[in-house]
């Protein structure tokens, strides 16, 4: 299928008004906030070397923090702040999505504006500031009628740099729950949908260029004393904002928001749940690509209504438990811990997505290995690969302890490459994920864990506190519980990792429903 006629372009287009609108709103708000803070700061700081140094230093440090990390940091920060305001003043606010994105991006926008405003103002010929004083201007009149107009080109250059940065970086606000053009990119990267990735990048680039050119028009108009041109630029920006607001205002917002983390299986499952809700006459939309540190808190704060997590992930990462009780006991205990936060553990879907030691089936048979216990005696001659975090996780420590595992070599790898690496014999064993579709594709064997060193990772549906007694929601999702076995999920994941129209999460979710719905 040629790239141009690919039907996924059409699918991408259907999301454009939503993603673009959100992107423009978050970028413009952040930029406006950044300007409102940076311009006065720069004006105050320009003649105070100590303050100026400290200010530019801080802004530079902020700039060195990777955009993704900066955005992610704002979420827990605001969450803590929200609980403080709730405790002290009796009101909280949503620390999810828009607010942390705006604050982080505004902070990110400050350096070019600060630096260029200070440079521009300090670059005004001292003879002219002296003349302004000499003709009888107050410092304020001198600033407004002489210094700022003369520094304008340099200041505007800073604002334009900021605008382009903010629009680009705003694509990274997807994982903290702010819909943006980044939704295309994150979803596309996870599901190997290169059309989406390309579409998202192009849309962000076009938006950045358009805003940059409109700002250039305003600058040009101001510099050449052409109010018409400046007004045209201003109208252009206003029109852009208005155009992105209209469709959003016209659309009624969805009642139910289904969350998804940043990997393929999550995209498929959220699409499946949203589809089920709609089939039951409920309005639903998916909020995809949420960071795993964000999604649980977002549910607890009622920012999303439902999502799928894994029992072991909550056990180890969220509640910091290092023991690994049997499956039923862990689920029971988890249910009561969650209930304390008013979160409903609605039920298990039927499969597990756990860490597991995986090797080629033929190799395992040849060596007579069926479980990790069998593996232990061969480990000294074998090599193992895991993802970036596996070897520092408690599961790995527990595995080593329970089976006395000691491998010849261990390597860290990008998850997508691990399976191919073990299939080709480049490594002997990998720490894979039990529901990964590539297990079936490469004919791999998942080794048993008879001593239960790895806690169970049952896929479980969690409901937000405000949905605890929601009968309509629960009736819609009930048919999914216990229906998806590991083979279904592996095949669904494999389908979703394909690179064609049939591999979109929505298409795969429909396929999965057709398969399990009649059971």
């Amino acid at each position: 299928m040629s790239l141009v006629s690919d039907p996924r372009w059409g699918e991408a287009l259907t999301h454009l008004s939503d993603y673009l609108g959100n992107h423009v709103r978050v970028s413009v708000t952040a930029l406006a906030l950044g300007l409102i803070v940076s311009l006065p700061l720069a004006i105050v700081a320009r003649n105070r070397p100590l303050f100026r140094g400290a200010l530019l230093g801080i802004a530079s440090v902020v700039q060195t923090v990777p955009g993704l990390a900066l955005l992610a940091l704002f979420y827990p920060l605001l969450l803590a702040l929200a609980s403080v305001t709730l405790g002290w003043f009796g009101f909280g606010f949503s620390a999810f999505g828009f607010l942390p994105a705006v604050l982080a991006l505004a902070l990110y926008s400050m350096l070019p504006v600060l630096r260029n405003t200070i440079t521009g103002l300090n670059g005004v010929d001292p003879a002219l500031t002296e003349a302004a004083k000499g003709v009888g201007m107050t410092p304020r009149q001198s600033l407004l009628t002489v210094e700022l107009p003369l520094a304008l080109p340099v200041i505007m250059a800073g604002i334009r740099t900021s605008a382009v940065w903010v629009i680009g970086t705003a694509t990274l606000s997807t994982p903290i729950g702010q819909t943006s053009l980044g939704n295309y990119i994150f979803a596309g990267l996870q599901t190997q949908n290169w059309v989406f990735v390309l579409f998202g990048c192009l849309a962000a680039a076009v938006l950045a260029l358009a805003v940059d050119q409109l700002l250039a028009l305003i600058e040009n108009g101001l510099r050449n004393r052409s109010p018409a041109r400046a007004a045209l630029g201003g109208i252009g920006i206003a029109a852009l904002i208005a155009a992105t607001l209209v469709p959003t205002l016209a659309r009624t917002s969805s009642t139910y928001i289904v969350g998804a983390k940043t990997f393929t299986e999550q995209y498929v499952l959220s699409a499946l749940m949203a589809e089920r809700l709609r089939a039951n006459g409920l309005s639903a939309s998916a909020r995809e690509g949420l960071g795993s540190n964000v999604i649980f808190d977002a549910l607890a704060a009622n920012d999303i209504d439902v999502y799928v997590d894994y029992s072991g992930t909550l056990w180890v990462n969220q509640f910091h438990r290092s023991d690994a009780p049997p499956r039923e006991k862990l689920l029971g205990e988890l249910k009561s811990i969650l209930a304390k936060q008013n979160i409903t553990l609605f039920g298990e879907l039927g499969f597990e997505n756990a860490y597991a030691l995986v090797m080629p089936k033929k190799r395992a048979e040849a060596l007579g290995i069926r479980s990790i216990a069998d593996l232990a005696s061969h480990a000294a001659t074998l090599s193992i690969a895991g993802d970036y975090e596996f070897f520092s996780r408690p599961e790995w420590a527990a595995l080593q302890k329970a089976y006395g595992l000691s491998f010849r070599a261990q390597r860290t790898m990008q998850p997508d490459f691990m399976y191919a690496a073990v299939a080709s014999g480049e490594v002997d064993v990998i720490a894979g994920y039990t529901s990964d579709g590539l297990i079936a594709k490469y004919d791999l064997e998942v080794l048993d864990d008879p001593r239960h060193a790895i806690p169970p990772y049952d896929a479980i549906v969690l409901l937000a506190p405000r949905r605890a007694g929601d009968q309509a929601l629960q009736a819609a999702l009930k048919p999914l519980l216990g229906k998806i076995d590991i083979a279904d999920m592996r095949e669904a994941n494999l389908r979703a990792s394909g690179n064609d129209a049939a591999s979109s999460p929505v298409a795969v979710a429909r396929w999965l429903w057709d398969r399990i719905g009649k059971r």
């Binding site: 003879a127 002296e130 000499g134 003709v135 107050t138 009628t145 003369l150 004393r225």
Partner: protein
């Protein structure tokens, strides 16, 4: 002089860099109403500082300065500057404002109605002998001489009684400089101004001013009409006067009367 002085410096002193640089050292000086005073001195003589003390662009450390009989320390510096015209070295016109807006700046600050400001700009263009077509031009579209004419017009816009000039014609070619000097002197008479002009050029001072003050190292060395200066026994003053004198003699010899073009 029979009239009360419009500007009076009494034992004025000013130092910079925590007293390490003495810019003005115990200067007392009176400028009578209607007088044209030139302050002559080399760089670092303190002449520019002395001028700026009068409209409080610089604050004095010691002594008192009175303008129109009032101690400047008791006046709002911004309002004081609006009632004193100031012509800057090489114009210092605001490059983003057109000629009319540059001229009208002080009246605008004083809150004059727009129509009056506009009429005043036209009036001043005529006074400084600039064609009205220059009205809407930007400073960079003008020649150096035209720019300084606008600078003079800007200083006169709010009808000040006093005009301070900081080496106003220094950067111009000799012909333009001569023409501008003469034109300004005529304006000085016509508008009954009181003018203090700084220059490092004794010839210019002799030709334009009523009285000349000579400064060196922050001190006032001599003060008087050209003839009085000529009688001064101070060797530095003598040195300053030698050049114009010698030039005049040589020019007289080179250009006998009647041959001048």
């Amino acid at each position: 002089m029979p009239t009360t002085p419009l500007i009076a410096y009494t034992h004025v002193g000013k130092t910079f860099d925590d007293g390490r640089v003495v810019a003005v050292d115990d200067v007392s000086l009176e400028v009578a109403e209607g007088e044209f005073l030139a302050i002559v001195g080399g760089s670092g003589s303190g002449k520019t500082t002395l001028l700026r003390l009068a409209n409080r662009l610089i604050e004095a450390d010691r002594g008192t300065i009175k303008v129109e009989g009032e101690d400047v320390r008791t006046l709002d510096p911004v309002l004081l500057r609006r009632r004193i015209g100031y012509v800057f070295q090489s114009g210092a016109l605001f490059p983003h404002l057109d000629v009319a807006a540059n001229i009208g700046i002080t009246p605008k600050l004083l809150g004059w109605p727009a129509a009056n400001i506009s009429a005043r700009a036209d009036e001043l263009l005529e006074l400084v002998r600039l064609d009205k077509t220059h009205r809407d031009r930007l400073p960079h579209e003008l020649s150096g001489g035209q720019r300084q004419r606008v600078g003079v017009a800007r200083a006169l816009a709010a009808k000040p009684r006093i005009v301070l000039m900081d080496e106003p014609f220094g950067a111009l070619d000799p012909l333009t400089r001569d023409a501008l000097g003469d034109d300004y002197r005529a304006l000085h008479e016509k508008l009954s101004l009181t003018t203090v002009m700084i220059t490092h050029d004794m010839t210019e001072a002799l030709l334009l001013a009523d009285r000349i003050a000579v400064m060196r190292g922050g001190k006032l060395l001599a003060l008087g009409r050209p003839a009085e200066l000529s009688d001064s026994g101070d060797p530095y003053v003598g040195e300053l006067l030698r050049t114009p004198r010698r030039q005049a003699e040589r020019l007289n010899a080179l250009l006998p009367r009647g041959d001048a073009a």
